[in-house]
């Protein structure tokens, strides 16, 4: 039997959060952490968590699994269980609404700041704005982000200054538009990132890279933005 310890907090009932222990029979199968949560929810219907696609695409079920942020749906028990124990907590650093569900308003507020859409005020061509294969290749490793918040909530700079530091996820997306040959707002985008907090609070500890369930590299993107900012300032 697998020992599963889950963070529980219902602000309407509980004075403070607590860890609830469950016994779970895996039947010898290497199932996903989300499968465990689903089965435990049958045992205890009051357990609350987010999930949707259950295949690592929607980014809904980001949780802290045995100390490391990840998507419950694509994390197998063989990666998550340590010493026959599985510990599941909400993503750290953001307010908990209930159990494993966090309030992501601050995360989305930072995402909104970087204007995550194409800006190009030139007249639209008849069919589409074309890119060369090389220009398109620059977006690889950037556009795949699913906004699960695993990276930003693993980042101490984001924990400490979530109102001022954009965070790895937002900055990866910022570079996605800075690197896009069809976007014409590079100067405006850089101008909004040039303060000492938005980008430069990244100290390059690379927690974001370690936890990204899509294998992306926000630290590298942040490095590119930093170089662009320094070049435009000198």
């Amino acid at each position: 039997m697998l020992n599963v310890s889950i963070y529980r907090y219902n602000p309407e009932v509980d004075d403070e959060p607590y860890m609830q222990d469950f016994q779970f029979d895996t039947e010898g199968k290497d199932i996903m952490v989300l499968d465990v949560l689903e089965k435990l929810k049958i045992q205890d219907p009051s357990l609350v968590f987010r999930r949707s696609c259950r295949e690592g695409v929607c980014g809904s079920d980001g949780v802290n699994i045995s100390g490391k942020n990840g998507l419950a749906c694509i994390t197998p028990l063989s990666e998550a269980v340590k010493g026959n124990k599985l510990v599941i907590r909400p993503l750290p650093g953001l307010p908990v609404i209930r159990d494993l569900v966090i309030d992501m308003s601050q995360f989305y507020a930072q995402y909104e700041k970087i204007q995550p859409y194409m800006i190009n005020n030139s007249p639209a061509p008849a069919i589409e704005r074309l890119q060369s294969p090389e220009e398109r290749a620059k977006l690889d490793g950037l556009y795949e982000c699913i906004l699960c918040a695993c990276c930003s909530t693993a980042c101490p700079s984001f924990w400490w200054n979530p109102e001022k530091f954009i965070g790895p996820s937002g900055l990866l997306q910022a570079y996605r538009f800075l690197a896009d040959s069809r976007d014409t707002a590079t100067e405006e985008r850089l101008a909004s990132l040039g303060d000492p907090f938005s980008v430069f609070r990244c100290h390059g500890i690379m927690n974001c890279v370690q936890v990204c369930p899509k294998g992306l590299n926000p630290t590298k993107a942040i490095g590119h933005i930093r170089n662009m900012l320094i070049r435009s300032a000198t």
Partner: protein
Amino acid sequence: MMALLARFARTGPSDWIIQRVTAVVMMAYLFFIVGYLIANPALTYGQWSDLNSLLSMRIFTLFTIMAVAFHAWIGMWSVLTDYITVRLMGPKANGLRKGLQVGLGFIILFYLAWTIKILWGL
């Protein structure tokens, strides 16, 4: 007045560049001093005094202590705005952080003035 102040306002890139340039100055000074000490194992007070009487050496030392001052200010400001915040410590954090910044400013100015006094014996 605000426009004048804005010209001196720090930005992310300026802080970043200052940190790197000052680090290079400090490293150059460290290498020079360590190199000099290795090259002169039987160093006398006279030699050391002569070295530090050179105008070029005094300016190098002054630049280095100025580099330390800027580097320490930006670095400590960064540390204080990470750790001593309302989010982590509650409302008293703002006053405490500003107090620590003022204290840090005094220490940095004290070291600068002291260095100038040592170098030029004013």
